[in-house]
């Protein structure tokens, strides 16, 4: 999460960043609001490899069972991608990102790439890859740049009221003045 937050801090204009924000309207891992909290909303869902893998089942007994297990795994993976796609498309954020480990990025993109654009043509999901560097901090990079979505004004105003403009809630990361 820190690596993705750092990427947003460096690439957006003086963003206010909320880690796991408490907002019923916006279930994301990271929310960044650029221009010191007065600009666009950038929502990021972070998924690790385990999010795409089905719970381990018992060892297959024979070749037929191995093949069946592989088919089940692939079906589960595609189902998870579709669920994730639905979640991302319904986020009330101007920019929507999926952050995944670099090791699984190509496989996930293979399934997700044709679905990145909004059906109405306005908006595209961005992809962030996270590379593990052992003892050092992981590094997050944007591999597919997002495009701006339309956002429902009523949902946006609820988020502004409950989170962004709520004086009781401070961002986790912000530019100190």
């Amino acid at each position: 999460m820190n690596a993705v937050a750092e990427l947003l801090r460096k690439t957006l204009s003086v963003p206010n960043i909320y880690l796991e924000p408490h907002s019923p309207q916006l279930a994301v891992d990271i929310l960044a609001v650029d221009r010191a909290g007065s600009g666009d909303l950038h929502g990021v869902e972070i998924k690790i490899d385990d999010d795409f893998v089905r719970n381990r089942v018992k060892n297959p007994a024979n070749l037929k069972a191995i093949k069946q297990q592989r088919r089940d795994r692939e079906r589960h993976f595609r189902t998870r991608i579709k669920e994730l796609h639905r979640e991302l498309m319904s986020l009330p954020a101007h920019y929507r990102y999926l952050a995944v480990p670099q090791s699984g990025c190509d496989t996930i993109l293979g399934e997700l790439r044709p679905l990145l654009h909004s059906p109405d043509g306005i908006g595209k999901i961005g992809i962030i890859s996270i590379t593990d560097h052992g003892e050092e901090l992981p590094i997050a990079e944007i591999v597919i740049a997002p495009e701006r979505f339309r956002v429902d004004a009523a949902k946006l105003s609820k988020i502004e009221k409950n989170l962004i403009n709520n004086k009781k809630v401070r961002p986790d990361i912000e530019v100190r003045i």
């Binding site: 690439t11 204009s13 003086v14 221009r35 010191a36 007065s38 600009g39 530019v175 100190r176 003045i177």
Partner: protein, 131 residues
Amino acid sequence: MGGISVRVYQDRGLQLAKAMRLCRYNQPAYPSAAALLAVHSAIAYNDAVQIKLTGQRSRTQDHTQAVAAIKRACGTAKIEPRGIEHLRKLLSTKTDVSYGDKEVDNHLADALCVAADRFEAWAEGFVLNRR
């Protein structure tokens, strides 16, 4: 005139700040370019703030007067002038980083970029998009 001009200067400030970040976070970094962009981003944001608060841009070449003018404008509009100190710092280095004989090292560039970030955050959050 106000609405259009504020947007012009605000966008200029934003673009210069984005370019500053590209220079700052690239490896290897470009400290001289980042420092110069930090100063000019703040100058553009200062113009946007002036136009927003007074309807006109400060045309003085004297940096002390520019800082005094924005302080006055904030006082009249009852806006907390917290960000202005960062502008003062940036303007005081303008001649050196633009035309000076000394090299701009990473430390100086970092300090100026932080100041520019803070002035931008103040301008955007407290003046230009005041809630």
